[in-house]
Symmetry: C2
Amino acid sequence: MQREVHDITTIDRIIHEPARLAIVSVLSACESADFNALLTLTGLTKGNLSVQLQKLEEANYISISKSFKGRYPHTDCALTVTGKKAFRLYWQHYKALAEVIDLE
Amino acid sequence: MQREVHDITTIDRIIHEPARLAIVSVLSACESADFNALLTLTGLTKGNLSVQLQKLEEANYISISKSFKGRYPHTDCALTVTGKKAFRLYWQHYKALAEVIDLE
DNA sequence: GTCATTTGGTTTATTATATAAACTAGTCTA
DNA sequence: TAGACTAGTTTATATAATAAACCAAATGAC
């Protein structure tokens, strides 16, 4: 138990934050999603979504591609390889923990 | 998927924060632990542990009882019924999520 | 045409948070 | 009685999350 509990504090906080976990979860399920899809699927506000996407991009967990769809700007997001790896690792980490704790 | 992903953002943040998750995990396993035990088991700094314990107490998730052991002050912590309930709920929430995401 | 509204966002300001480092108060040791 | 140790708390700083305000362009109603 010792080791595992101690490890909780080393969890990937970029992903752990609920807003970002929601975003990354969606992206892991659909390979690519635009701003509006993420907005409705995650239930975040626009401002928060915008900030969190930037943070995920900074961490190189997602790529953001901006273009125009008709005359409107259009933002598309997808997990990068790094992001997919990090997400997989995060869940491994968390599931391992869940098992340990369930034993008690 | 929609509903579940949206739900991520409603997770219990008192428990979700890694430092506190570590504390609560330890307490769920041993019914009661003192400051030093928590210190080594969680790997937190004293300051951080102190603050997080106060926060958990404010939330009524743990009870803190202060006494003297010999001449030294001694702080003992234990989950309250509310805390146990919250912790159980937290994991239910998280496991449900894990299942949904694993399907993708 | 022009005024209000909507789209698709970003920026800013406020509040909360986590954390280390410094501090308190007292005890033990030599 | 000086120094080191115990058992914490408080404070200061840096990072965060969030809502609300803002912006530019497009569309719709009249």
